[in-house]
Symmetry: C2
Subunit: 425 residues, 2 copies
């Protein structure tokens, strides 16, 4: 089975800490987790499209959901009726998002959960449901039900320790590759493992909604500590990326921690575990941006010197979501005027004192005090090189007290338009 | 000289009221206004690129400026140091925005104003300055200065009554056609005239910033009434359009009203004048969207039933600026799932009660109570027709008390990406 570095493109934006070691596999690499992926027939040509993941023992868990008001049925069901601190399993289908499907959709999601719980011999409130795919179409339950029976039956039968790849494959929609991996963390008290499976290639792809991520861990960690670790990692990773600024109806991140390693990290160990988790989720998040629809490069934008965090965030998002900024990167054009315009729009008229700003592309300062810097021939050459890198580091230093924000974004390309215009409902 | 309907594409979104008559010309059609356009050499190939507009007599005036914190030098100079209630003239250059140009930029804008005021024999505070074009490059004053001398000299010499077209042409950048016209309004107390010249084809085009609009009127109207009329017309037109969601550093709308007709409209007449002004600015605004970069169609989106105006506005903007919604219109795909997703994102989690919504494309209700309506073959056919119209009317009815918002937007196309990616600084 492949591991972390085969399945995720290396990004210099997300280095792994020194106390972390890559191991083969994915969500089943930590002890006590089973997973399978099956072909239910929702996707054509017998592609894997339905997965079940379960911990063999009780878990603490942490869940993050989309804040979209049009949240899909599986999100609403799980958020509103599951015991999100003690989930032990999740059933996921791809190819149909079960979103904008009304009462029937909620009933279908509940049926998915009931079937899975039944086969897994778990109380329904310990089973989460996730879906990704077409919006506004009812689930083909005649395919989903046998699929769940097969998948959950296999897991309940004890198979699935080696099926992390199948699970990660089953949750894909238009992702160019499966996104999964596993890491071993040296906590000081002993080694524990983290496993991951994620999907996403736009906040919402050609009507194929969603970013999903499932995390497993075999450390002995309390519920509130695990929730804190997961929340911090999500805030620093999935909440910091944008492909097209569009938040899906189905986004969900679930983290399961079952203690099966018997290793209970101390304060220092917990801090290492958190650091590993954050690095891993950031790596997955950057991988989603790199796999963004039509994307040809990934930018990291750091905004500093804002008057407060809200402003820093607004400036970062305004630049990252500007179609003019994004097309300029596609054109390999260091068009700082568009960055300045987006900053100015985000700040509004009373933000004038926060300008002039400094703008740098990697180590080349292109704007100083709000005005173009005089670049010599060497700097011009360096800038041209930078614009052809697959990853570009940008900094915008405002003229204020110091609040900061970082976002990761992709460019806007002909392929993005093609992918999203040529799709037909 | 051409008039209103030759220069502006007819839009059913912006019908003219019955008491309004099209007349030939533009900003010089109302009495007592002179305008010229000259080729200063800033644009290549002797294209017109510098204009001066003046009222022969004292005016009341109203000015609206971009709220972008990175406002360009001419905006800052005019906003901060002119008598914006009594402007009599404006000098405009195209090809260079004089934005992000620091102290030198402010000095250059002040020099433009001083030269124009000198030739026009007006106090500097009665002269506005506007620029549009490249960001971050200092004005070539060696070309601008003789240009102003020639243009303002001609106006001061009394020529320019027939040069509305030249003026409207001189303020263009990448606009596909000049946008100007004139209307006669029957006020009840007598006929008065309105003249217009506008430019814009993106909130910010391939680094060619800006929406500019200049309005002239020969009615006898007081300063505060004129300001009210202009403000209402701008709010209902230019503030309601989006091509790419990007607000320029140079946007400016100036309205001059000089009383030269001798006709003082009463209450009913003022109301007619306001209605005519609003219809005209909306027509210009829709024309800017239709001329939006790469645009192939114009959508009017009306959001109703929101809990308050801010929410209505947020939902309308979220849909209108969603790249997924915009690419779907380019692909002639009635992809309501993307509209629902954008609505949900704008409302956020606590907006759930505002959904389910009703979504209609023209007369075809495609979503009812948040779920896809069952369309028969006739409705399917009608929907396919609608998706090929040059103008499409959309309604989103939320499930709330009733606040409304309307925006006009263009689609997102391969040509938009080409125009904005292939431009090189």
């Amino acid at each position: 089975m492949k591991g972390w570095s085969e399945m995720l493109p290396r990004s210099r934006f997300a280095p792994l800490p020194p106390f972390v070691r890559e191991v083969a596999g994915g969500v089943t690499s930590p002890k006590g987790f089973l997973a399978v992926g099956v072909a239910s027939g929702v996707k054509k040509r017998a592609k894997l499209d339905l997965g079940v993941l379960m911990s063999e023992r009780p878990c603490v868990s942490a869940a993050t959901f989309t804040s979209n008001a049009a949240a899909a049925a599986p999100v609403r069901l799980t958020r509103e009726t599951a015991d999100c601190g003690h989930l032990r399993a999740v059933v996921v289908n791809a190819g149909n998002a079960n979103a904008c499907t009304g009462k029937q959709g909620l009933a279908d999601a509940a049926r998915m959960r009931l079937l899975a719980a039944d086969r897994l011999r778990l109380p329904v409130e310990q089973v989460a449901v996730a879906s990704t795919g077409l919006i506004g179409v009812h689930l083909p339950m005649d395919k989903i039900e046998p699929g769940i029976a097969a998948a959950a039956g296999a897991v309940a039968g004890g198979s699935g320790a080696a099926s992390a790849e199948a699970f990660a494959t089953a949750i894909r929609t238009t992702d160019k590759h499966a996104k999964y991996g596993a890491l071993e963390v040296e906590t000081g008290e002993g080694a524990v493992r983290l496993g991951f499976a994620a999907k996403g290639c736009g906040m919402i792809s050609p009507n194929m909604a969603t970013m999903l991520c499932f995390v497993t861990c075999d450390a002995v960690v309390g519920e509130s500590a695990w929730t804190d670790l997961m929340r911090a990692a999500v805030v620093g990773s999935f909440n910091r990326i944008t492909v097209d600024g569009q938040e899906s109806t189905n986004d969900m991140v679930l983290g399961f921690c079952n203690g099966a390693s018997g290793v209970a990290p101390g304060d220092e160990g917990l801090s290492r575990l958190g650091e590993a988790l954050q690095a891993a989720l950031l790596s997955l998040a950057v991988s989603i941006v790199a796999d963004g629809e039509g994307s040809t490069r990934t930018m990291r934008l750091s905004v500093t010197g804002a008057s407060d965090t809200t402003r820093a965030e607004a400036v970062a998002r305004a630049v990252a979501n500007s179609p003019l900024v994004k097309t300029a990167f596609y054109g390999r054009d260091a068009n700082w005027g568009r960055i300045m315009q987006a900053i100015g729009q985000a700040l509004g008229r009373d933000g004038h004192q926060a300008l002039p700003a400094r703008i740098a592309y990697e180590d080349v300062v292109i704007v100083e005090k709000g005005q173009p810097a005089a670049l010599d021939a060497v700097q011009q050459g360096r800038l041209a090189e930078i614009m052809h890198q697959p990853e570009i580091d940008l900094t915008v230093a405002l003229n204020g007290p110091g609040a900061v924000s970082t976002v990761y974004f992709s460019d806007l390309t002909h392929d993005y338009v093609t992918l999203n215009a040529e799709y037909s409902t």
